[in-house]
């Protein structure tokens, strides 16, 4: 085996791939070959590093030098200076936003310091398309130990003792779920993995599948052993082509090495895996709908009970776990349940991965111990809200969750405390909003989503979500009444108590939480016909400040509907009847004279 003296890790996550990381990788190969260094330095495509805002990311070991925003044209310099001459290219190193200090290593950044990577332990560390690298990081050892040294019940006991709860959102204890299915009579049972990550703004599961697919495969085989199943299905979104490709490569490699298939590790245990592609229906993230979809039907949910553990896929006992939940399993078995349970709060153990996005400096993927406060995530890890704007709210749980206002920024993140303040953990989307975001508009945005994605099977959700959106439409266009606000709330509770599945039961959450914490914004829309954040188009007027206007005519020339008039070098005026509120004039004005009111 050849040992390289340098390893160049190039991020191959979706964000960095979109900013041309594959081309950067090619260029490294070319530049290394040119200098005869191909045997000395190895280029490796890895999964997501997490700091997507600074992509494409390149890390060079053994120094651990962390290069961000790398361009194809920078590659020659890195090879010439760093790889050949051993001088780190300071110009491309990460600069800390707050102190403006240069950070040499990845782990020293503010972004990584407070994180604890368990589910993401191998993302950005190994090449996900090479099983040997996973094995070198103790991969498939947990499976081997389970099959040769532990009984299925012992495996379940370890998972129960760790306190691991479902990371898909609902937080059901994983060990308990497994023990329910283990109790049922076989011989046919199924293990399913929910990789239908539908929450808009969340990409945790995608990053695990892209960066460390073997950990999910290993965990599913362990789950199969624990409950007595020999067939597994991974239901993954067709919108995730890179994840699907790497998952398939990983499954093929695992079969080749004998970690999947007949008589694994020469035991009596056999387990096979198949990928099933989703086809773009959000409701298929719900467990019974997902199974109906694998069975080849419209993905509509079924009433529970019977629960899937009793009667699931093809009518057989089935367990369904989320990608992130599964990624924790091999770690727990390797390191012991006590070590996992040390992290977190009383009822929420371990860590949680969040996809941090929206109005935040460091967009990306973060994994934090449960109980970390929202403030730590936003201010320390996330680097705060950019452009000097004020933090207004954080949205967790996507279309099923709620908004957390700035006054509750010190809330520790765990299942219970989030539910208590009217939001939910959800699968891990964490969208930050600043003063320029209108909370009524956000509520309407999520309702738009649920109206679209409601499968139509039950009336409360099919009709209720539409009526909710109509009321919100009325409010954002300035035609709402105070009675509408009461009606809105009442209807929300109807949906919560009467819908068939979690989609309808949680659809009102964005409305209820914004009504609870931002009622003043709703009232401003209704009573004063005003959108405080300046978002709702129907309530906006563009005006020119005569003091600031120099009469340069730039705005009147760019206006597509000739709504701006005025003489040269004199203050201009906007005809609000003609104005279509496109905002072109604001972009053109060099004197900051045009305002939205």
């Amino acid at each position: 085996m050849n040992f390289a003296r340098s390893h160049i890790l190039v991020c191959g996550g979706t964000g960095c791939t979109s900013s041309q990381s594959p081309k950067i990788m090619e260029e490294f190969e070319v530049q290394l070959a040119k200098r005869g260094l191909s045997d000395e330095a190895k280029v490796i495509l890895t999964g997501c590093f997490g700091l997507c805002a600074l992509g494409p990311i390149v890390v060079v070991y053994p120094e651990g030098a962390f290069y961000s925003n790398v361009k194809v044209s920078d590659v020659a310099e890195i090879v010439e200076e760093h790889i050949l001459k051993g001088r780190i290219v300071e110009r491309l190193l990460y600069h800390e936003k707050k102190s403006n200090e240069i950070v040499h290593s990845l782990n020293d950044t503010e972004f990584y310091k407070k994180q604890k990577r368990i589910a993401l332990r191998n993302c950005g560390v190994i090449n996900p398309e090479n099983i040997d690298e996973y094995i070198a990081f103790d991969g498939y050892q947990a499976l081997a130990t389970c099959l040769t040294e532990r009984t299925p019940q012992e495996v379940i006991d370890i998972i129960s003792a760790s306190g691991l709860r479902g990371r898909g959102g609902a937080g059901f204890p994983t060990g308990t779920k497994w023990s329910f299915a283990a109790r049922e009579k076989g011989p046919v049972k199924y293990v399913c993995c929910n990789a239908d990550e539908g929450d808009p703004g969340a990409f945790m599961d995608r990053s695990v599948l892209e960066g460390d697919p073997h950990s999910v495969i290993e965990a599913m085989a362990i789950a199969g052993y624990a409950i007595g199943a020999s067939q597994g299905y991974i239901y993954v979104r067709a919108e995730y082509p890179i994840a699907v490709k790497r998952l398939q490569i990983a499954i093929d490699q695992a079969k080749e090495y004998g970690f999947l298939g007949e008589h694994i590790f020469d035991t009596d245990f056999s387990f096979d895996l198949e990928i099933r592609l989703g086809a773009g229906a959000f409701v298929c993230g719900e467990e019974t709908a997902l199974m109906t979809s694998i069975e080849g039907h419209r993905g509509e949910p079924r009433p529970r009970p019977p629960y899937p553990a009793v009667k699931g896929l093809f009518g057989k006992p089935t367990i369904l776990n989320n990608v992130e939940t599964l990624a924790n399993i091999p770690w727990i078995l390797q390191n012991g349940p006590e070590k996992f349970a040390e992290m977190g709060t009383e009822k929420s153990k371990g860590t949680k991965v969040f996809a941090l996005g929206g109005k935040i400096t460091n967009t990306g993927l973060v994994e934090i111990p449960m109980g970390t406060t929202l403030r730590e995530i936003v201010e320390d890890i996330g680097g705060g809200v950019p452009n000097g704007k004020k933090f207004k709210a954080a949205q967790t749980g996507g279309p099923s969750g709620g908004c957390i206002p700035a006054s509750l920024i010190d809330t520790p993140i765990d299942y219970e405390s989030l539910a208590q303040i009217g939001s939910m953990m959800g699968s891990g989307g964490l969208i930050i909003m600043d003063e320029d975001n209108c909370m009524v508009d956000i509520a309407r945005f999520f309702l738009d989503f649920t109206v679209d994605e409601s499968c139509g099977k039950c009336a409360p959700c099919r009709i209720g979500t539409r009526r909710l959106r109509e009321i919100l439409d009325k409010i954002v266009s300035g035609k709402g009444t105070m009675e509408d606000l009461d009606l809105l709330e009442e209807l929300c509770y109807h949906l919560k108590s009467n819908s068939l599945c979690a989609l309808g039961q949680t659809a009102p959450n964005p409305v209820l939480s914004t009504l609870r914490y931002f009622r003043d914004e709703y009232e401003a829309h209704v009573k004063e016909h005003r959108c405080p954040a300046g978002v709702c188009k129907a309530l906006l007027h563009y005006v020119i400040d005569p003091e600031k206007c120099k009469g340069c005519t730039a705005c009147s020339r760019v206006c597509p509907v000739d709504a701006i008039s005025g003489e040269v070098k004199k203050a201009h005026v906007i005809d609000t009847d003609k104005c279509i509120k496109c905002g072109a004039c604001i972009e053109k004005c060099r004197f900051d004279a045009i305002k939205k009111q």
């Binding site: 979706t14 979109s18 900013s19 969340a202 995730y240 099933r276 086809a279 996005g357 499968c455 972009e587």
Partner: protein, 164 residues
């Protein structure tokens, strides 16, 4: 809307039909075969017109209503042909709070077509898509396999011009 019948006449070839029957033969005895079959068949034809749905239903021995029920339920299945260039503007939450709405508006204006439809010359089809997971680059638009990130409405004209 996905469940509208297309106005474009069906132009399937014999080769495509042969491939379709191969796909059906491969999956026929597999439990829950309809979705994988429709996914592969859509890859052959680019969309799922009525003529193709009939062939799938007959091939798998299931009612046409079931095939249509599935084809119209999932947003990935298209009952209309796609344009030469598929323009998708991400409307995930991260993109939305960073102004994807205004980007989409501008694309609609420039292409003179609405999300979910195709331009009159059939060259561009436009979709407002769900989160594509590139939230670090928000707001994001894709045109076929090209990705454009950190967009402002005024960037749209120049980008689209490259394809016109």
């Amino acid at each position: 809307m996905p469940n509208t019948k297309t106005v474009v006449p069906f132009r399937g070839t014999k080769e495509q039909e042969a491939k379709l029957h191969e796909v059906i033969a491969k999956h026929k005895n597999q439990p829950g075969a309809t979705m994988p079959v429709l996914q592969e068949v859509q890859a052959i034809y680019g969309y799922l017109p009525e003529e193709v749905q009939i062939m799938v239903a007959e091939g798998l021995g299931i009612p046409l209503t079931e095939v249509y029920g599935i084809a119209s339920f999932y947003s990935q299945f298209a009952l209309n042909p796609k344009g030469e260039y598929q323009v998708s503007v991400c409307m995930g939450t991260a993109c939305y709070v960073k102004g994807a709405g205004a980007v989409l508006d501008r694309v609609c204006e420039v292409l003179d077509c609405q999300p979910g439809s195709i331009t009159k010359d059939g060259r561009f089809s436009l979709e407002a898509t769900r989160c594509i997971g590139a939230c670090g680059l928000a707001p994001v638009m894709t045109i076929n396999d090209d990705v454009y990130g950190r967009l402002k409405p005024e960037d749209v004209d120049d980008i689209l011009k490259k394809y016109m």
